[in-house]
Symmetry: C2
Subunit: 417 residues, 2 copies
């Protein structure tokens, strides 16, 4: 059973590769008279502050001065992504880019850089982007000050990999099978700190044998690899027939690989266990097909075997004295009620509903004036985005949300899985 974390739903999506344009941070620091330290006794830091005011103050974080000044680390003040000026979502007008490490240090909407003798004092520097040991929950972390233990901060990303093809819900009809039909598995792999991916392997028999995939090496820069590596593996389609799962694991140039199983941590960050796509044999109209199921889907998209497993476990652990239809009979609110299915229809720029904490909001009119940009709302249109909303919005924003309230979520009609 996997406990709920207090972090975002990342899926396999918390890594990206783009072409960034900007100014090396070290040039700016040098212009300001900052010199690299020869004094290794005392660590100095470069602190970054954003203009985004969140429930616990402004977002901010820091890296060591040594890191910032290292010409091989490629730390950059970026103003362009893939040949275009940054959009608000990507941190317009200027943001940090620090290759190889966790995104949380790459402050968006940057408005302040300072060189200090200690780490950033932003609440978010300490309370986000940490991996705490698995037996530390929120209560214990706060009570015993685990957030401030230096070992648990995240900088470098670890080695990771994911499967992109077959996609979630992709099907292969048995009627298309022939002795020479092939399928090309595809995906990406990545490691932090500029470490190169040297090997990506697939198993179709629960780890008994591993098949070596082809790698598409991206260019190295000063002996470092900042980008994800694509992998692919062509296999006979019939290899799937006796297999219940496709698993991938990567190895980096430090000979590290991924653990087989997930280790829970409070923020739900940096889990890099083997990525598993389940293979189902199902009937689909008159066909018999193989259907592929990923563990979760990106963002708030429904589905995935981890989600299904989690819901099953929750159902099993529900108190025995709660009647199955309790939510229906106990409903007393007189506000309009909308089902998930109804909300899902309002999923575009001209008609955009969202659900937050079981309340439904029509925020169509708010889209063009959203401080976080248009896309930030639109990717959530027609979905329940409670977690995302609550994690990054201030109390002021939460009050403003109330203006757009139109009714409650009727979850008594949710399909039983």
């Amino acid at each position: 059973m996997v406990k709920k974390t207090i972090g975002f739903n990342w899926g396999a999506a918390a890594v990206s590769t783009a072409i960034w344009k900007g100014v090396p941070l070290r040039y700016i620091l040098q212009l300001a008279g900052v010199k690299n330290d020869d004094n290794y006794e005392k660590t100095r830091y470069v602190c970054f502050g954003g203009t985004d005011k969140l429930p616990n103050g402004y977002y901010g974080t820091s890296i060591t001065l040594k890191w910032a000044m290292d010409e091989e680390k490629d730390v950059m003040l970026a103003y362009e992504i893939n040949g275009k000026r940054l959009t608000p979502d990507h941190g317009y007008p200027i943001r940090m880019i620090i290759p190889g490490i966790i995104g949380g240090r790459m402050v968006k909407w940057l408005n302040k850089i300072s060189v200090t003798n200690k780490e950033s004092d932003s609440w978010y520097h300490f309370h986000d982007n940490r991996v705490l040991p698995p037996n530390v929950d929120a209560e214990r972390a706060n009570k015993e000050n685990w957030w401030y233990i230096p070992n648990y901060i995240i900088y470098d990303l670890n080695v990771n990999s994911a499967i992109a093809a077959p996609a979630h819900d992709e099907v292969i009809p048995f009627s298309s099978f022939s002795s020479d039909s092939e399928y090309t598995l595809r995906g990406y792999a990545y490691s932090g700190g500029g470490r190169k991916i040297i090997r990506v392997e697939i198993t179709l028999d629960d780890g008994k044998t591993w098949l070596l995939s082809d790698l598409f090496d991206l260019e190295e820069r000063n002996g470092r690899t900042w980008c994800w590596t694509f992998w692919s593996l062509k296999i006979p389609t019939h290899s799937f027939v006796r297999s219940s799962e496709i698993r991938v694991r990567a190895w980096d140039c430090s000979q590290n690989t991924q653990p087989e199983n997930l280790t829970w941590n409070l923020m739900g960050m940096m889990n890099n266990c083997h990525y598993r796509v389940k293979i189902h044999v199902i009937t689909y109209g008159k066909d018999v097909v193989l259907r592929f199921e990923h563990p979760t889907q990106a963002g708030n998209n429904p589905g995935g075997w981890m989600v299904r497993q989690h819901e099953l476990e929750q159902k099993q652990s529900a108190p025995a004295n709660t009647p199955a239809n309790a939510s229906k009979s106990e409903s007393s609110s007189k506000d309009p009620k909308y089902t998930m299915e109804q909300v899902k229809q309002h999923n575009n720029e001209k008609d955009c509903w969202i659900i937050i904490d079981k309340k439904v909001y029509d925020c169509t009119k708010f889209i063009p004036i959203h401080p976080g940009g248009t896309t930030a709302i639109l990717i959530n249109a027609g979905t329940d985005c409670s977690e995302e909303f609550n994690a990054i919005h201030s109390d002021k924003a939460k009050k403003r949300l109330a203006t757009f309230y139109i009714g409650d979520l009727d979850d008594s009609k949710r399909p039983k899985l």
Copy 2:
């Protein structure tokens, strides 16, 4: 089932920490007029050659020039260990020390340094210190030239950990148990590339829960940790009663951890799966005791659950038509025969027998003149050291060995496990 590799028996012992004294390699290179490259297009290398002539030529290897010149990598020409001049075993008169990477690059008995445009051309640079994918065996590696694929070379060590206490064969009598008796688990953890160990955890319930150990941090140097980290964890002694295994795993500052299970590779190198000590409840005279069993023991010492498992598996896979006592009845040699038990008695400086390929040698007289030093023989006195001997000795050395032959190993009386 774990297949035999062509490498050494390392156990958990292929890592060490010592205080080295020497001259930074970059000083020597600078004196010789070598400058660091600004041209990142072309990698330059520093090649090291040893005076040890092996079956396939002199031992040698290389690292990049960039690495050699980096003042934070602490690459050193060492002449002292722990305050004393190097012994022959440790590479007298001078050897390489390259912190954080595999020992195979730290050439002993150093006699040549050259700066070149390509890697070392020593046979051993390519045919040793590689991790090949698990489906590549010796025949395929040689036939398809896997030794020369750049991705599979080892430099950085990966994250690893081991249990030292309880030791192999340590016992705790149940008669010593009381409600307040405690046991302190101890061991070491390590990661390559100067990456710090941030977390070491123990499980007594097969990974369902993990207990956080205490770490004894060693000093960092330029933000890098070159030494192993000791860990300890005090637990109530009765925690062992319902547990069949103690497992340890470490995490480093790049958020990498160890895989649960071993992945076979041809050289048997760099396996860093969870270290498991089995717990047996056995009678021991009149006592009932807990007895601890490590996976293997260092060097040629017998025992360990992996060894036992391996022998069992071999027995099960033996051809059915081989009579159980075949070795006895087929014996035809007229040379004297010695049992393992007899050989074991000759285990010291004044009386030193060894077994190589089922032949017994009395090499007492050779000890003081062994080119590899006294200790190299003495640690093998009274044991079967076929693998170690064959791996590092030249044909000339093998011929010389014949001088000391005294008889054959009688393995018909080996105890059945």
